[in-house]
Structure formats: structure tokens, C-alpha cells
Symmetry: none
Subunit: 201 residues, 4 copies
């Protein structure tokens, strides 16, 4: 009767059902990336997904929040899968910081639509403040640890984490303004900036 599964439940869902859900999530991400969070209505998403009515989205998801949450989770999971190994492969704070920046920007370059949508979601969804702190906490902790190990100079780890995160996310606006931007070059510049900014004096 209901396909809804508040989307954190265990998955005994059928293939077809998951396929529909995935199709809707995809359409949602594309729509959000193209029109922005506010203008991504169920009507627009349903149209892009080829659905006959917005009721189908309500049928598969427990409201807009549920759809957006699943979309967010999907992208975050894909990002973690792509970037995690690459970052953890490096040893030592500075190398990991470089890998973090490069992996992030590479993934943005690889899946710009998804990552633009993710940024829109994080910026416009309620409860952002809490998530923001969490999103930089890993980076912050890495800085703190590196400082203890003497790999980094003295600076406020939280501010540095914000600066790194924001520099990475800055590429979205640049890509929007100039789609032909060389993302690898952008990454190298960011790497250089924070190599210098975090180095021991």
C-alpha cells in the first residue's frame, strides 16, 4: 500500500520500488541543481522524472523532507565512498589535507550536478547549523591531531577548517560563472594556500 519507508529503515524493498525511488531522487537532484532548492517543487521534479502526478512522489516518500533527506544521504554516501579511501591512503596531516582538498574538488568536478544540489540542500534545509559544525568537525579534529604531532603550526583549527571547506565550496560559484574552469588548477591553488597557512613557521 505504501512504499514509504522514512528511508532509514532496513531495506526489504523490491528492485522496482528502489528503482522508482532512485529515479525520483535523481530527478530531484537534477532539479535542485538547475533551479535551486526553493524552486524545486514536486511538480518540476515529477515532470523531469516523467511521472504523471506529484502524488507519485508523495506515494514513494514521506513528504519533501524525506525526499530531500534521501537525496542528501545518497550524495554524501557516494562522496564518502569516492573520497574516503583516497584520503585515508595518505599518511600524516599535511598529506591528508592535500588529499582532502584534491579529492573533494575532483569529486565536485566529476559530479557537479549532485554536489551543487547537495550544497543547495545543506544551505536551505532547516537544521543546517548543526550539520555545518559536523561537516567541519572531521577536518577540525585532523588539524588538532596534526598540531599535537607537530606537523602543523599554530592556528585555530576550527577557523582553518571553515576556511578550507569554504575554499573548496567556492568552486561551485566559479563553475556557475565560468563553466570551463580548470578544476585541477583550482585544486592546486587551494592546496598551496593551505599548505602555506598550516605550515610550521
Amino acid at each position: 500500500m505504501q512504499a514509504k519507508a522514512s528511508s532509514s529503515e532496513q531495506d526489504g524493498r523490491s528492485f522496482i520500488e528502489n528503482a522508482r525511488r532512485a529515479q525520483i531522487v535523481r530527478a530531484a537532484l537534477d532539479t535542485i541543481a538547475e533551479l535551486g532548492f526553493a524552486k524545486a517543487s514536486f511538480a518540476k521534479i515529477a515532470k523531469r522524472a516523467g511521472l504523471s502526478s506529484t502524488g507519485m512522489i508523495s506515494y514513494h516518500f514521506d513528504g519533501k523532507g524525506d525526499l530531500v533527506a534521501e537525496a542528501m544521504r545518497d550524495v554524501l554516501a557516494a562522496a564518502a565512498a569516492a573520497m574516503g579511501p583516497r584520503i585515508r591512503a595518505e599518511t600524516g596531516g599535511p598529506a591528508r589535507l592535500r588529499a582532502y582538498i584534491e579529492a573533494n574538488i575532483a569529486f565536485i568536478a566529476e559530479r557537479p550536478t549532485d554536489m551543487k544540489a547537495l550544497l543547495e540542500i545543506l544551505r536551505n534545509n532547516a537544521g543546517e547549523p548543526a550539520w555545518f559544525l559536523q561537516s567541519i568537525s572531521l577536518l577540525e579534529e585532523a588539524f588538532r591531531e596534526g598540531q599535537r604531532a607537530g606537523e602543523f603550526g599554530e592556528f585555530d583549527p576550527r577557523v582553518m577548517a571553515i576556511a578550507v571547506r569554504q575554499a573548496i565550496d567556492g568552486i561551485h560559484a566559479l563553475l556557475a560563472a565560468e563553466p570551463r574552469t580548470d578544476t585541477a588548477a583550482y585544486a592546486q591553488q587551494v592546496v598551496r594556500i593551505f599548505a602555506l597557512a598550516t605550515a610550521r613557521s
Copy 2:
């Protein structure tokens, strides 16, 4: 018979009319800052402004875009007036960079509501990409000039400008998550980061 003036025209408007416009702009900024761009409807703005009808907003402004544009222009003008002299007072690229960062964050700390609203507008309004390039162009040109003068090291001025701008704007999310943040300390950290990142080697 209309007071509307697509708001870039020269002003033959009466004092009262301008007072009304200013009152509405103020309510719009407060509403956008509190509720976010998407949820700042004419109804909410009119209520906050103490207006009896949303029709008053339509009467004085040529649509939502016009209101938002004027609000944006007002804040940008105030920011330029407050920050411009302080920045221009400094001589040399590095000193001006420091002044730029400090003045920006000081102004955000001083008028957090207006600046939060401005950020919301810039992020959610159509035509953002074009404006984004313009917003960093001054910074970018300053870096380019400083490099010619030998005051800065070698780096991509555009990427550096983005990184600086984004680091400054990062304080909004931090303030949202932790309102008691010491903004002056935040500014000093950002100053330090970009002093190191832009220095000649």
C-alpha cells in the same frame, strides 16, 4: 500615478514615498535574515513592516525582484561606505588585504542581520553568477596589482580572491551555529591565513 521606479532610475520621489520604501526594505532584510530567502513572502514582510496590505509592497516596488534588488543595493552601499575608507586608508597590498578582511568581518559583526540577508539574496537570487565574479573582481585586481608591485608571491589571483571571500563569509554559518563566536579572533585567524598564503616566498 505609480510610485514604482524599477529602482535604478533617478529619484524624483517624494520624501514620504522614500520613507515607505526604506521601511519596506528594512522589513524585507529582517525577514530574509530571520526566515531565509525562500520563506520571506510579501505577507511576512508586510506584517513585519506593519503594513495593512501586501499590495503596498507591489505599489512601491515593481515586483519581488525589484524589492530584493533595492535591499541588496542598500546593504552593499552601506558596506562600501563603512569599509571603503578603512581599506583605502592603508597603503600597500598586504596592509590593504588585512584591512579588507578585518573591515568585512567587523561590518558583519556590526550588522549581522543585514549581512545575513545579503548573503541569502546573493545565494538565492537569479543572476548570481554574474554578480559573484563582480564581487571578487576588486579583490582579484588588488592581488594582481600587488603581484606586479612585488608585494605578493605567485598565485592565481582569482582563486585567492575566492578563498578570501569565502573565508570571510564562513563566519555566517559559524555565527548561526554558535552565536557567541568571537568575531575579532575569527578575523585575526583569517588575516593570518592569507598573510601566509600570499606572502613572497
Copy 3:
């Protein structure tokens, strides 16, 4: 901007506004009486009131509950105004009981639409149980007092109050089935039933 007034506030409303509200309330009562509470949607009410969209109802009332509450209050007030004096004019429990029954049924005969709608509202609206007890409390108290004065025999005042109220309301179903029913005769029969049932032995 908003005509809404959660409808228990003091009335500084304009004549036109009150006229529109009254018009909508009238259409709502007619619609509820004709189609029943459940099928009386805003669309049906708006159509009957000659409104261009359901948005007009939302403009004047703070949701369906507000509209229904105002409709209920209007009818109850009219009923109290029509019946109250007639009942209070009588002296002594038995005379007042007769007046209560006659006045109620006469008012139902006079304004059958409004009273049918009122019954629908009371039966289908949330919070009915509480209101039910209140609606019979006056009658119940009158019986209790009459018993103390020796005007009535011995019986449970609450059950008797329910029986009287229900006998009166029974005329709605009878009128629906046979619109030509002689309501005055119905009233006399009910009067007789409860005269006998409440008499001292």
C-alpha cells in the same frame, strides 16, 4: 493584508469585510446542510458563495476550523436569541421544560438549514464530547433544581436531559425523510412524553 480575525477578537472590521465573512458563513451553512459536513469542501462553499477561488475563504478565515467555528457560533447565538426569552418567560420547571422543547422545535422548523448544519458540525467536529456535555448541562441543572423544588419526580437528571435533547434532534432525520412533517405536532408529542416522564408520581 489579512482579514482573518480568528473570529473571537473584537470587531473593528469594516462593513464590507463582515459582509463577505457573513456571505461565506452562509454558503458554508447551506453547503454543510445539503451535502453533510464531510463533503462540504472549500471548493463547494466557494462555488456557492460565488467566489472565484477557495483562496478567498483562506483569506477571510484562518482555516476550515475557524470558518466552522464562526458558523457554529452564529447559529448558536441566533438560537439563543430566539429561544432564550421564550424559555425564561416561563415560571417553574415543568413550564420551562415545555417551553424549551417547543422553542427548540419551532426554531428548527423556522431555520431548518442552519440547524441541520449545526447538528452536522457538532457531530463531526473534533471536541464534540466536551461540547455535548455542555449542551445538556443547562437542561440537566434545570431538572436538578426542579427536583429540589419538588416540581419533578425522581429520575437521573442527566439521562433525562439526554433523552429530551435527542428527542428534539430526532426531528432532523424525520424532516429529511418526510419534509412535510408537522413540526408543531411533533413538538406537542415530545412535550407530552416528557411531561409524563418527569411528573411526580
Copy 4:
């Protein structure tokens, strides 16, 4: 290929099929009793019945009207089976009237859910007026017969029948407001009221 049987047909249905129908009818009654007629959607009924799809209800019943009609018939049949013998066991009009009231209220006390649902259905379903007359016709005829036999006084049998029926049904509202009500005592009061009201003078 369809199991639907507009439910007044003779039954060539299989055991399993009838079991499913009964299961759905049970869930419908529970849902209607708990949420009211208007809010008892197929979705809610299917959920309560443990069905995987609302389509199951449409498969087994020819629409909502059919389901409701069967539910109504089931309860009426059970009521007739429980109350009929008890009433017919009595001899003479007054004794049968007493038995009618007692049996009705006892059955309501015994199966409050079903009877509450039945009342909801009768009040909200189209075609109620016709059914209403039928529901009191037995009582009315009994009064008429008793009057011919000189067992009752003079009164309008139809009005008396309505009053009795309504007094009985009044216990639903009372139970909703005060669940701990003593139903047997309520019955005795009603019996007393109508013993006095129908007695020869």
C-alpha cells in the same frame, strides 16, 4: 476473475475470499469507530487490516459504498441475532418495549466499537433518510399494535419510536464524553421514561 459481488448477490465465494472480506470489514468498522466516517480512508483501513495495498479493498469490494454497506449489514445482522430472541421472548407491548431498550443498550455496551461505527455509517452515508424510517418502523408498528390492544395510551407512534431510538443512541455521545458510564443504569432510566410516557392514563 473478480471477487467483487456488489455484495447482495448469492454467495458462491470461496472460504478464503470470504475470510478476507470479513477481515476487511472488521478493520473498516474499527477504523470508522475510532476516526469517524469521514477520516476512515482505504489507506487507514488497509493499514489496520495488515493489507499491503488498498487495491485489495477495491478488489474485494465494489467501491467504498459497497464496503460500508456490508459492514452495516454485518453489524445489523449481529444486532438482530443478539437482540431479536430476547425481545420476542417477551409477551405484550410494554414488556417488549422494555426488552427492546434493554437489549439495545446491552448490545451497545457489549460491542461499543461496532455500534459506534454503525451509528457513524448511518449518519454519514447517503440514503440515510430512507433507512431511518425503516429503522424505526418496527418500533412504530409495535406501538401501533399495542395501542390497538389497549396496552398503550394515546400518542403518535412514530414520534414515540423516534424518541425511544434517539434516547438509546444518546448513550454513544455520553460514553464518548464519560467512558465509565453505567450503561445498565442508563437503560433503566430510559425504560422508566418510556414506561411512563406510553402508559394508559
